[in-house]
């Protein structure tokens, strides 16, 4: 009984999340194309409250906040997917090596690196990387990847240690498969599926982190439309023109929520299915 109701819950969460995400993706794909407003150059009267012509109003430079917000969402999502993808692949590979390595010196060293990177507050270490690379798209990407891979490595390390003990891996060894074959064809694919579920939930954290860095002025810089940077830009006008900050914030929260729902639903579905 409880199992069934949970499964239904998970399905519902996944569905609502997916619908919400589809809407956001659709809007961010279409808004810059269909709208006549330019996301970077202002052509309308500045600081106009939301109306039929400008759904989210206009900012201090006369740019349409709706078009800008969804152009920004597109950028944030793409950055997040790339960052998560790269850290997922790198981290999972390293973690798998660590999990297989047992007590070798290499895996001992990697363990140390992974644990000490994870000891830091994520955003703080990311800020450190941005300091060197510079506040820019490559800066944000390398900050997130350099600090993020270690979390996947931790997940993959634990999972690999379990898989490496499974009987199908023992069978593979008994059949005389080489180390790399055992690793690539038998251990890695099974570690990967769990890491993927983890990556979905990380996507939320990473989107928020990208926006956070840009909000702090240590990420994507204006005039490029980016949600965190937009919220930051609108801050000083909060009392006079709340929509400049609040709408991008709402879009960011909705995007994060939709992915969160998908991730939670997916996790529960795979756990109870």
């Amino acid at each position: 009984m409880r199992w069934a109701s949970r499964l239904k819950d998970a399905d519902r969460m996944f569905l609502i999340g997916a619908l919400l995400l589809a809407l956001i993706v659709l809007a961010s794909a279409l808004a810059p194309i269909l709208s006549s407003f330019d996301p970077v150059r202002g052509t309308s009267p500045p600081m106009r409250a939301p109306s039929a012509g400008h759904l989210f109003g206009t900012d201090n430079l006369g740019r349409d906040v709706f078009v800008r917000a969804f152009a920004a969402t597109r950028l944030d999502m793409m950055l997040a997917v790339v960052a998560v993808g790269v850290s997922l692949i790198v981290g999972t590979l390293v973690g798998a090596v660590m999990g297989m390595g047992g007590r070798s010196k290499v895996s001992g060293f990697l363990n140390l690196v992974v644990d000490s990177i994870n000891a830091f507050p994520f955003i703080v270490l990311a800020l450190g990387v941005v300091a060197v690379v510079g506040p820019s798209v490559p800066g944000v990407l390398s900050a997130i990847i350099l600090t993020g891979w270690a979390r996947y490595a931790r997940v993959a390390r634990a999972r690999t240690a379990v898989i490496a003990d499974a009987d199908f891996v023992n069978a593979a060894r008994l059949l005389g498969y080489g180390r790399s074959r055992v690793m690539i064809r038998h251990v890695f694919p099974n570690v990967y599926s769990e890491s993927f579920a983890f990556a979905l939930s990380e996507l939320v954290i990473v989107i928020l982190a990208i926006a956070s860095l840009s909000f702090l002025g240590a990420g994507v810089r204006p005039p490029t439309p980016e949600l965190g940077a937009m919220i930051s830009e609108g801050r000083i006008m909060l009392t006079r023109a709340w929509w400049i900050s609040v709408f991008p914030g709402a879009v960011l929260a909705l995007a994060a929520l939709s992915i969160q729902l998908i991730a939670d639903g997916y996790e529960r579905m795979t756990r109870y299915a």
């Binding site: 199908f168 060894r173 008994l174 599926s193």
Partner: protein, 268 residues
């Protein structure tokens, strides 16, 4: 008498645990002749699974030796040669963890054929089909996802995969304990057929006396890491000499027939 294909001499295996070293196998001697089926019985925790793993090289001996086909067994963590793979293969207890969930049966067996027989992709698949057919897996099942196979079907796939190496010895560690009675029986028939057709030596580990009696030519009785009795199956079961064997035999009603214990299937 022919040269034994397995010789285990004074084998000790110890596991390091946080609470100190725990001996699992404490001085065991065992011989298996080519083409012979040897049963090892004992209750859970008696060390029989550890012994099985030591024979194939999955656990390291603390002292003593395991000689298989004239050579000391090599630990699997090193590189195993084709000859090692063609000597001994193993069937595991838990059907749900003994197959890679990411591989279909045909892929799993074809991979084994490809590596062990050095056949090309196409020939490997053809041979794998043949092998799977011979263990009773239909063409459609070969291409099914492993996830959707039953425990019995999985064990059959495992057997086909092991046979791909054309081993001289098959070590089966409680291969039927997770299966329903009728399915277990047909799997035992399959093992018996393979044994007689191919002349493979089989080391069969079980806590189930009925199963061992049905399959084994000779039997060893294991308790707390040592053998307490061994001999030709019929003798051991009809006239047990050791106290422990007597309790084992008497605790199973009609140990002469195939009685599979209703073991809870392992979780997926």
């Amino acid at each position: 008498m022919t040269e034994p294909i397995i010789t285990v001499a004074d084998l000790h295996v110890t596991f390091a645990t946080p609470r100190g070293d725990v001996p699992a196998v404490r001085g065991v001697d065992l011989v298996v002749a080519p083409g012979e089926t040897v049963g090892i019985v004992g209750e859970s925790g008696s060390g029989k699974s550890t012994l099985a793993r030591a024979i194939v090289g999955l656990v390291d001996a603390q002292s003593g030796s395991v000689t298989v086909d004239g050579r000391p067994v090599r630990p699997v963590h090193g590189r195993r040669s084709r000859a090692d793979a063609a000597t001994v293969q193993m069937i595991f207890q838990d059907p749900y963890s003994s197959l890679n969930p990411r591989q279909r049966p045909i892929d799993a067996v074809a991979e084994a054929v490809h590596v062990c027989q050095r056949l090309d992709r196409k020939a490997s698949r053809a041979r794998a089909m043949e092998l799977l057919g011979s263990v009773g897996i239909s063409q459609a099942q070969c291409r099914m996802k492993t996830r959707s196979l039953s425990g019995g079907q999985r064990q059959r796939v495992s057997i086909a995969r092991a046979l791909a190496a054309e081993p001289k010895i098959l070590v089966a560690d409680e291969p039927t304990s997770a299966l329903d009675q009728s399915i277990a029986a047909s799997l035992l028939n399959l093992l018996r057929r393979i044994q007689s057709e191919r002349g493979i030596a089989v080391v069969f580990i079980s806590h189930d006396l009925g199963v061992v009696r049905y399959l084994a030519h000779r039997v060893y009785v294991m308790k707390e890491g040592v053998f307490v009795e061994d001999g030709v199956t019929v003798d051991v079961f009809e006239a047990p000499r050791h106290e422990y064997t007597r309790t084992l035999v008497s605790s199973v009603p009609g140990a002469g027939t195939t009685v599979a214990h209703g073991h809870a299937p392992a979780q997926e």
